[in-house]
């Protein structure tokens, strides 16, 4: 995606100015003790969330964990039973159009006018925030260039591929250059090239000063672009921190993969009793050792194999992923 600057007036802010602005307004999003019930079901259970200016904040959670409900409450689409929501330091309300004007939303479901062209769709949604026709025309042009839809401006949505449709969906949500943008699983069902372009675009928006809230089930995406991550489950925040902080919170360490021609049961048992080793699997010729966090896991394993006189082939170790952290925190049982 092309260069893109945040803020309705256009030019990118200097980093120092952005820093000063952050200090002045405090958190962009501040949710305190939010409770939302659907009958007997508690969708949000005293949920708290703070997002600072300039962050790309990842919101993760299994299906039904309350991510979308939280976003809809923040955006005032849903009523809630208890709690307070402040955006840009101001209490959020359904009629706070001044705050809404600073927010962009890219919904998970592609929500567009099937009968309008690409350009008309972007113009329509931009007009919900920007009334000046000339400025809007400029913003629409920039949004089209940003998502790379210049060759498709006269196409109607049904003529676009899945990736192009997602990009149009994004353009409609951010054409007015919001200061806070919500991206709800924007890369579902797109090819790697489009996904890469979308992620680069989000990063570019953020670099120009836009605070981003990003939800996805693709852990590697979140790991790649989010500066801070919250894992939700059962309507609550169960972990918040940077990627590294989250990994440090759980016991999951690296996975060690070693090619060995043969592995006897005795050696396998000795490996399993090593400190920090959680699980040993052997699928000839690959030995996989799942470890907890430890300083000498690789050398300990190699030591056991050497003592047993086992010759090793290729060996490599993978650090824990966000996916490992996620599963560790939320469990492996299937959700709805």
């Amino acid at each position: 995606m092309d260069e893109y600057s945040a803020g309705p007036t256009g030019p990118a802010r200097a980093a120092g100015e952005a820093q000063a602005a952050r200090a002045a307004v405090g958190p962009v999003v501040a949710v305190d003790n939010l409770v939302k019930r659907y009958g007997d079901l508690v969708a949000l259970d005293h949920f708290n969330l703070t997002i600072e200016p300039g962050e790309i904040f990842g919101l993760l959670g299994p299906n039904g964990s309350g991510k979308t409900t939280a976003i809809n409450c923040i955006l005032q689409l849903l009523t809630y039973d208890k709690g307070t929501i402040r955006l840009f330091g101001e209490p959020m309300a359904p009629t706070r159009y001044d705050l809404k004007r600073r927010i962009g939303v890219v919904p998970q479901n592609v929500a567009l006018f099937e009968e309008l062209t690409v350009r008309e769709n972007i113009d329509f949604f931009c007009a919900l925030y920007v009334s000046d026709r000339r400025e809007r025309a400029r913003l629409v042009d920039e949004a089209i260039a940003f998502v790379g839809l210049q060759d498709y401006v006269k196409f109607r949505p049904r003529k676009l591929s899945g990736g192009l449709l997602r990009r149009l969906n994004i353009a409609c949500g951010i054409a007015h250059k919001p200061q806070l943008a919500f991206f709800d699983e924007p890369t579902v069902a797109v090819d790697p090239q489009s996904r890469n372009a979308i992620l680069e675009g989000i990063r570019a928006m953020n670099e120009r000063g836009c605070t981003v809230v990003y939800t996805s089930h693709y852990m590697e995406e979140v790991e790649e672009i989010c500066s801070r991550i919250m894992i939700m489950d059962k309507g609550r925040s169960v972990a918040v921190g940077t990627n590294a902080e989250l990994k440090a919170m759980v016991g999951v360490g690296e996975r060690i993969f070693i090619e060995v021609a043969a592995l006897d049961e005795g050696t396998r048992a000795r490996l399993a009793t090593l400190p920090h080793v959680r699980h040993v699997a052997y699928n000839e010729p690959e030995l996989t050792v799942h470890c907890e966090q430890g300083a000498h896991n690789v050398s300990d394993v190699m030591g056991v194999l050497a003592a047993a006189g086992i010759t090793c082939g290729r060996m490599y170790a993978e650090p824990p992923t966000l996916n490992d952290v996620f599963l560790e925190i939320t469990g492996k049982e299937l959700r709805d």
């Binding site: 659907y38 809809n72 955006l75 005032q76 689409l77 849903l78 009523t79 359904p94 009629t95 159009y97 001044d98 809404k100 004007r101 927010i103 939303v105 919904p107 479901n109 592609v110 929500a111 567009l112 006018f113 099937e114 009968e115 309008l116 008309e120 113009d123 329509f124 949604f125 007009a127 919900l128 925030y129 409609c172």
Partner: protein
């Protein structure tokens, strides 16, 4: 707001599926009506009365023979289809067999003509074709006898008058006891009521446009509605702009159908076409309001709402008399016995609005009907607003 209006208008105009009920349906149905009523008119065309004559010497000598020949002359105004019988017996046989409606005979030279007819219908409630034919033949004979007597009297009392064609014409024309006149400024035609009822139904089907558009504005009814609700434009302004576009499209569809009915089907609107177009604007407003009320119903998808609308439109059109003569009688009965109930039917109100333009000289009744439509629209908009009044929802 202007952009919302413009783009909603664009979107609606490009949604071809909406035209099926709003535009194509009234055009197709009015075309069917055109053919149906054309046949009906053909059946009501006057056929010459099958008449027997006893063509004996007395008949040939009677001046009445010339009168009958004149009335039986082929042409658009042919009144009698004459069949000659050589004898009275044969003529009576044909009469008894129903081959002729009556028989003219002159019993003797110089005598007045006689008319023999079969016994008439005794049901009394309705007038059958035989009764009509008999009446025509009686009128022919009576008129001849009366004119002959008048001529004889003139000849006896004022022979000089016979030389003055003007006075003779005045004397005979005075014998016409009836004069055709119209109580209304338009010639009443029974079939126009069906077309007027058709516009009632077409307008109600046009509510689908508003149902569609309203569903696209409400967060609890569509993802697009949810997205639009996030914008920095107030809900009232969004709805007003959207409904204005809906009204315009509904009106345009009705006007297009009206032009087809007026200029292709050839239905008479009493020369008040511009007032009809104005009335259609009120009809489109009611359609918009009905669509708003229906479109705002929560937890029902667009397909189901369309189904409900179709059912409502069909039911209300039944009481507007759209489906034929029995339904028209039903509509009239309901209107007589339950005027308030009938007045609440928008399909009937729209049909009556056209009717008021057709039959009344002034525009007072038309204005009253338009006011009723305006009131209906206000109530339906209020119902829709009740459903949509929430800014946020307990669930989406």
């Amino acid at each position: 707001m202007g952009v919302i209006f413009r783009d909603t208008l664009r979107a609606l105009v490009r949604t071809r599926a909406l035209y099926i009920w709003s535009l194509i349906f009234p055009i197709v149905l009015s075309t069917m009506f055109m053919f149906m009523f054309a046949n009906l008119d053909g059946e009501r065309a006057f056929d010459p009365v099958p008449t027997g004559i006893v063509a004996d010497e007395a008949w040939d000598a009677s001046p009445f023979a010339a009168v009958v020949d004149d009335l039986a002359a082929p042409g658009d105004d042919q009144l009698l289809a004459v069949r000659s019988f050589p004898s009275a017996e044969e003529a009576r046989s044909a009469l008894t067999a129903g081959e002729v409606a009556g028989v003219f005979a002159v019993p003797e030279a110089g005598a007045a003509p006689e008319l023999w007819v079969a016994p008439g219908s005794e049901t009394g409630a309705t007038l059958g074709a035989d009764d009509v034919n008999r009446t025509i033949l009686e009128t022919v004979a009576d008129t001849y006898v009366r004119d002959a007597d008048l001529l004889a009297a003139v000849a006896a009392e004022d022979p000089a008058a016979l030389a003055d064609p003007g006075r003779l014409e005045a004397a005979f024309s005075a014998g016409n006891g009836t004069e055709e006149t119209s109580l209304t400024h338009a010639s009443p035609k029974e079939s126009v009521r069906y077309y007027y009822a058709l516009f009632g139904m077409a307008a109600l089907f046009g509510a689908q446009i508003a149902v569609f558009a309203v569903c696209q504005t409400q967060p609890n009814l569509s993802p697009l509605g949810a997205r639009r609700a996030l914008g920095a434009v107030g809900r009232t302004r969004t709805l007003l702009a959207t409904l204005a576009a809906c009204w315009l499209v509904s009106w345009a569809c009705l006007v297009a159908a009206f032009l087809y009915v007026r200029f292709v089907v050839g239905v008479d609107f009493a020369g008040r076409e511009l007032w009809c177009v104005a009335g259609l604007a009120a009809a489109a407003l009611v359609a918009c309001a009905l669509g708003t009320a229906l479109g705002a119903l929560p937890k029902i998808d667009f397909g189901s709402k369309t189904g409900i609308l179709t059912g409502v439109a069909c039911l209300l059109s039944l009481f507007a008399g759209l489906y034929g003569e029995p339904c028209m009688e039903l509509a009239d009965t309901v209107a007589r016995q339950f005027p308030v109930l009938s007045g609440l039917n928008p399909a009937k109100a729209i049909a009556d609005m056209f009717y008021s333009l057709y039959y009344y000289d002034g525009l007072d009744v038309f204005a009253a009907k338009v006011a009723v439509l305006g009131l209906m629209a206000a109530v339906l908009f209020a119902v829709g607003a009740l459903f949509m009044r929430r800014q946020r929802y307990a669930s989406l």
